[in-house]
Structures are given as structure tokens and as C-alpha cells.
Subunit: 303 residues, 3 copies
């Protein structure tokens, strides 16, 4: 709990985590015994189930923030802490992220974190979103998204930060960065991550129109790498991990860092400006009004 | 006519237009009543027919510079002025560019503007070509190319500056940047625009070989987005516009600017050098000779 | 032999060759009579057969360093010298690179150059690898790879530096940058060249997993441009060259340089750091151990 408490305080948050981020491109992080003592292999918050198989070196992280794995500040912090723990655990070489909720991988950023909140709170939230991206996108582990449900907006971002994406072949599921449909805008590092995944032109259209793709179309544009029947998503992810483990970790990690470092550096060097920009945008009256209308629509849908 | 006269003088040209360009990433430009008074909704030069439907917010700009919509200095200036007017018109949210000439969308830059002209005139022409690209590529409007005929060289560039390209599925039509076939070279911002559209490798081969693609191949490489029967090009463009209008303008515009700004900034900061470079290249004896041979070949073909 | 002797001395090597490289973007290099006197059209080292057809302007360079065209320092130097000679020969407009060894185009960098060698020798070797890339990637000639066998690692790099790749449609052949499989890492300019060829995302996965593609998959991802039956690889390359010759050389060369210059500039300005980095990595005990194990595995396979 010490680590987590530390992470909650803003200075601790950015301090500890970004310190670790900065290590990530130089190979495995060697952790001190003090920190190791705090580690629990099968740690769980109520919102996450994390199981590390010490034999295979594969951890499975199950998102379980009902009803739709909305990425609240608390939930994102849980994810960051647990990814960080696994990162420091030498017995863990790979991470599979999947959902324990039916029909949805993650519905994306929690809109309630952006509606009617103080600028300070909005800034804290945004820093956490950045941190989650940083931790997963720069992870030394091989990270596979086992996308067993819909994955819009922030859910799509989380998927794209992984190394490989396996999606359930269910035409009712969709994935994409659909922010503009809500009147909000994906920031530059969401965009950069999508360009790295599906190229410039597809991103240009997808972001402007806020497109959500069914699995088959997502495969076609390269937004996911593989489709399998819904009940085989996790098993396929586990099996796929052996391909990634066949490569010596140091060679894979240096290569991954070489590919992603420019994108990560661009984000970290614009991090404070990006927070400022988000807070100033999201607290605008017109944007707050858009969000209120969207929330009311969601309420009506439920009723 | 005042605006247009102003645009003809070089200092006015770069002054007024680039001032407007610089606004384009900050949302809709608010125009003064004086300028509005000069606006005519269904303004036409002899070379352009522009119809704005105030109800739908869609303007259709028909290119009609016989016989093949060659982009002369005069014609380009007409295009710039009319795009600028629509940009300033709050009732206009989308622009469709199409051709009123049979079989051709636009044959590209008018070679007569590059052959036997003074360096000053060549420079003025090139500045106008840059301006047209800047105006359309950075437009706050959703811009759709309804490509109802062949679209080589500058015609392809104009198409690529739009947000979406619908082409007539007629195998006799072709599209591409074929400059090298004439012994001239597409400048870096033509190249950047093509890389943004079809990727690096396709651009590398296409530009070196001056490839023209039939509609089916253009669709395959992503140079156009959709093929429809010839008589449905404009109707499909109009219908497609509703998808773009479904997104709040501010979110779409910020996203578009985020995608294109690096490419636009690179061009504007190298604008004068690019003009100098063009003038020095095009006025070379060897290049002038190439162009003369090409013009003579065209004459023979006609005869 | 004077040129070659000169190239062997490190200062001469970087001097003469990089001087020529620096000319390559400004059109054909005009050579002095002294240098021309040293030129032999159908020059051959024991490891290379070079035939220039003065009529067509096409040179064919056959790699013949038995058994598998491993790229040793000597062999790479031969390649550099011969590419340089052809570059200076005004009668030569195009180069086809192919193999005279059965079943293999090139097995890539000679591991014996990296195992048990002094840091100085490793550095000399790496500078030569860089030089080969520079010479071919920035060549003013149209360069076609006639890939008539497997082409892993450095063999794939050599292929990717060409303008066009035609591969034998034999499912037993493979191509790719598989360095991580050996526990080593492709440097940034290998990566940049692959991104330029197949895009970011494909490169990201391919490099991390050290993927080798069969011809059919290589075609699908764009790593090669065309597949033909094995006995038609060279003939197709020769025929394809006529398409490249149909474009005026100056226009094609300026365009090629415009596309590749940023990648080349990035490499040349990081050249010394890249050598230092390679030497420090490859001389590590752990990496030397990996290479020894790999070499022992190869020996056992042969036996």
C-alpha cells in the first residue's frame, strides 16, 4: 500500500513512476529488496485481477471495473501500480491485458472524471492517463491485448500501447478512437500511437470522423493483428506469448525501445503543456455542455 | 473584385492570404462586415462555378477552364479567392471540388506558365500554386474531391489536398504525380502530401517513375478512397458530406489541423526557398528544352 | 588496385567514398581521366562478377563469395569499390544485384567478423557495412535486386537499399531482418530503411520477433515488389530496368534523393556514434557468448 499511497500524491506519482519510465529503455530495472518485499505476485485491487504464472513468466491482468471498465483516476492508478510491479518482477517477461466484464474490453476514459471537476482534478486525471500510456507503451515486457469486447476511445488507446492485439471475432464489438463524436479531441500522443499502428492516412480519416471499426475492418486496417473466436482470445494470447519469448529479452527490448523512443520522448517533453492544454479545453463551457448532453443521452439509453 | 485585385499584386497576395492561412488552425475565421459585403454566394468567374447551398452548408466548386482545366496563374488565383470566400462564410461547412469539363478533373499545372516566361512571372506562378495547396490542405471546411475525370500532376495534388477522394470508376481515367515523365520534379510538399496519403514506399516508386494509376489501382494504393459510376460521383460526394457534418466542426477541425500542421509548417517555413528553387530549375535551358519538346508532342497529338 | 588500396586504409576509405557520396544528390559525378583510366568495365574480383552492357547501360553484379555470400569486410569492400566504379561510369545508368551462389542471395553480415575480433577491427567492419548501405541507398543509378535465394539480415538490408526488389517465387527462400533471433539488434538505419519500405507497424513486429518471410508473405507486406519463377528473376530485372530508364535520369535522381536524403543524413550525422555503439555492444561478453553458441549450432548443422 505504501507504493500506492505514494503514487496518489501528485508529486510522488510523477516522481516514482517517471523515474521508472526513464529506466525502461536501458534493460530490466533492478529493484531494491525493499521494493521487492512489497510485491505480491497475485495482487489484486477490487478492480483488477492479476495472475502471474512464475513458471511461464506470463502475467494476466483482468480489468474488472463494472460495468464497462471505464478508466477512472482510481482504476488507471491501479493499472499503473500493477504494471509497475510486474515490470520490476524479474520472473515476469510478458503481460496479457484482458477484461473480466462481459462484452467490453474497456469503454475508455471515464467521462465523469472530465465533467464538473476542478481544473486541479482534471489535471491529476490527465497525468494518470499519460502515465498509463507511458508505462505500457515503454514496457520491457512483451504486452499482448486480449480484446474480448468493445474497445472505444481510451480502451482503443490502451490496446494500441500493447505489442500485439488479438480481438474476439464478434461483429457486435467495435474498436477505434471515436473522441470527435463526443465533441472532444484525441491528443497528439493518441494520434502518434495510432499513426504508428495504422499509418497516417487511415488515422487522418479515423480521427476526424471518430470511426469505430468492427473486428473484421479493424483487422483490415491493421488496428488489430488477429481475430479468433471469442472463447479463444485468452488462450491464443497465451500461446502467442511463446513466440515473443523465443527472442532473447535484451534484443527484443532494445529493438522495441528503438522503435518507440521518438514517440515517447515527444510525449514526455510535451507532458506539462499537454496537461495544461487538456485542462483548458475540457473545462470550457461549450465542452462541458457537450459532455452533459452526452451523459444525459447515456442515461436515457439505460432507461 | 477588390479582393481579387489585391491578390494579384504579389505583396497583397502573400499578405492577405497567408494572414488567413495563419488563422486556419484556430477555428472559424470571423470576417469583418466590409469583407462580407463583397461576398456573393453563387459567385462565378468564367472559370469557376461555385454554388453554396445555404440549407445544407455544402458548396460545390466546378472547375471550367477549357479544355482541360489547366491550372494557369489566373485560374489558380480564382480558386484561391473562392476557397477563401467560402472559408470566411459561416454558413459553409463543406466544399466539393469537381470538374465541368468532360473526361478530365484537371490536367495539372499549365505548362505554358513555365515555358518561356520571366523568372519573376515563374515565381509569381509558383507562389500561387503554393497558396492553392495551403488554402485547401489547411481548410477548416470538410473538402471532398469529386474526381470525374483524369487527374494527373497538379490535378492529383489538388485532389490529395482534400479530405476525401471519390473517383469515377472509368478505366480510361488516371491519376498520379507524373512530373518525372516530363523531365520535371515534384517539390517536397507534393511529395509530403503524397506520403501522407499513400505512404513512403508507394510514393518513392510512384514519383520516380511518374506513375499514373487507373481508378482501380488508385483505390488499391489508397490514392483515392472510393470508386463509383461516373454519373454518381457528385451525388456520392454530397451524401458523404453528411458523415463529415455529423462530427462537431471544432473537434473535426482541431483534429485535422493536428494531423496536417507539421506538413504545412514545413512548407511555409521553406516557402521562399522553394520558389527560388523552382524558378532556378524551371528556367534552365535543358528544362526549357524538355518542356518545348513536350509541348510540340502535344500539338502533334492534337493535329 | 590503387583505388582499392586507398579504400582499405580507414582514412582513405571514409575520405574517398564519402566525398563521392556527398556528390550523389547533385547529378552524375564527372570523373577525371586519371580515375577513368583505372576503370575496367567487366572488372571482377574473385568474389564479384560485374558485367556492364555498354549498349543498354545496365550492369549486372553477381555476388559469388562461397558458400553463402556472407558479407565479410573484404567482400563488402569489393562491393563498395565496384558500385563506386559503376557510379562514375557515365555509360552505366542501372545496376542489377544478384547472386551466383545456389539458393542464397546473401546470408548477411559475416558473423566471423563480429566474433573474437578486436574493437578496432569491429569498427573497421562496421564502417564498411555503413559505406555499402550509403553507396547503394544513395546511388544515382536505378538499382534492382534480383533476389534469387534466401536473403536474411544483412542480405535483406542490401535488398532494401535497392530501388526495386524482384524475388524468386520459391517457398523455401526467405527474407527479413532476423537479427534478434541471434541476440543481436538491427541498428537504427536498418530500422529506418525497413520503415521506409514496409511502414512502421510491420517493422515494429518484424524486428522484435526477427521475422523471416517467405516470398509470398514478403510480397504481401511490401518487402519485395514482385515474384517470378526462379529462372526468370534476372530476365525480369533486366526488362524492368527499361521502365526506370524511360524517365530522364536527372528527374529520377533528384526525386530519389528527395525521398532518401533525410534517412541518409540521419545516418551520416550519427555515423561515428553508431560505430562506437556497435563496437561496445558486439564486444560484450554476453553477446560474444551468444555468437559462439550460434556458430557452434551452425557447425553441428553442417556435420
Amino acid at each position: 500500500m505504501a507504493l500506492r499511497a505514494c503514487l496518489r500524491g501528485r508529486s510522488g506519482f510523477s516522481g516514482v513512476l517517471s523515474q521508472l519510465s526513464s529506466c525502461s529503455s536501458h534493460g530490466r530495472v533492478h529493484v531494491s529488496p525493499v521494493v521487492i518485499a512489497q510485491r505480491r505476485n497475485n495482487s489484486t485491487s477490487p478492480r483488477l485481477q492479476v495472475d502471474l504464472d512464475q513458471g511461464t513468466g506470463v502475467a494476466v491482468m483482468r480489468l474488472q471495473n463494472p460495468p464497462v471498465n471505464s478508466l477512472s483516476l482510481e482504476f488507471i492508478t491501479d493499472i499503473c501500480i500493477n504494471v509497475e510491479k510486474l515490470e520490476m518482477d524479474k520472473s515476469c517477461r510478458g503481460l496479457i491485458i484482458t477484461s473480466n466484464q462481459p462484452k467490453v474490453f474497456s469503454a475508455g476514459l471515464d467521462i465523469l472524471e472530465m465533467y464538473g471537476k476542478s481544473p486541479e482534478r482534471c489535471g491529476e486525471f490527465w497525468r494518470a492517463v499519460q502515465e498509463m500510456w507511458l508505462k505500457v507503451y515503454s514496457s520491457n515486457m512483451a504486452v499482448i491485448a486480449a480484446i474480448n469486447g468493445s474497445s472505444p476511445a481510451g480502451g482503443c488507446l490502451l490496446s494500441m500501447t500493447c505489442d500485439y492485439r488479438i480481438m474476439a471475432d464478434n461483429p457486435r464489438y467495435s474498436i477505434g478512437l471515436n473522441e470527435t463524436q463526443l465533441g472532444i479531441v484525441a491528443p497528439f500522443w493518441f494520434k502518434d500511437t495510432m499513426v504508428n499502428t495504422v499509418g497516417f492516412r487511415t488515422t487522418e480519416v479515423a480521427l476526424q470522423l471518430g470511426l469505430l471499426y468492427n473486428p473484421s475492418d479493424a483487422l483490415k486496417i491493421g488496428l488489430v493483428d488477429q481475430l479468433v473466436p471469442e472463447d479463444q482470445v485468452l488462450a491464443t494470447a497465451t500461446k502467442t506469448m511463446t513466440k515473443w519469448f523465443a527472442i532473447p529479452d535484451h534484443a527484443r527490448q532494445i529493438t522495441k525501445s528503438m522503435m518507440r523512443k521518438p514517440t515517447i520522448d515527444k510525449m514526455t517533453s510535451n507532458r506539462e503543456a499537454d496537461i495544461k492544454n487538456f485542462v483548458s479545453f475540457i473545462t470550457k463551457d461549450s465542452i462541458q455542455k457537450s459532455l452533459r448532453m452526452y451523459l444525459e443521452m447515456l442515461k436515457k439509453r439505460k432507461a
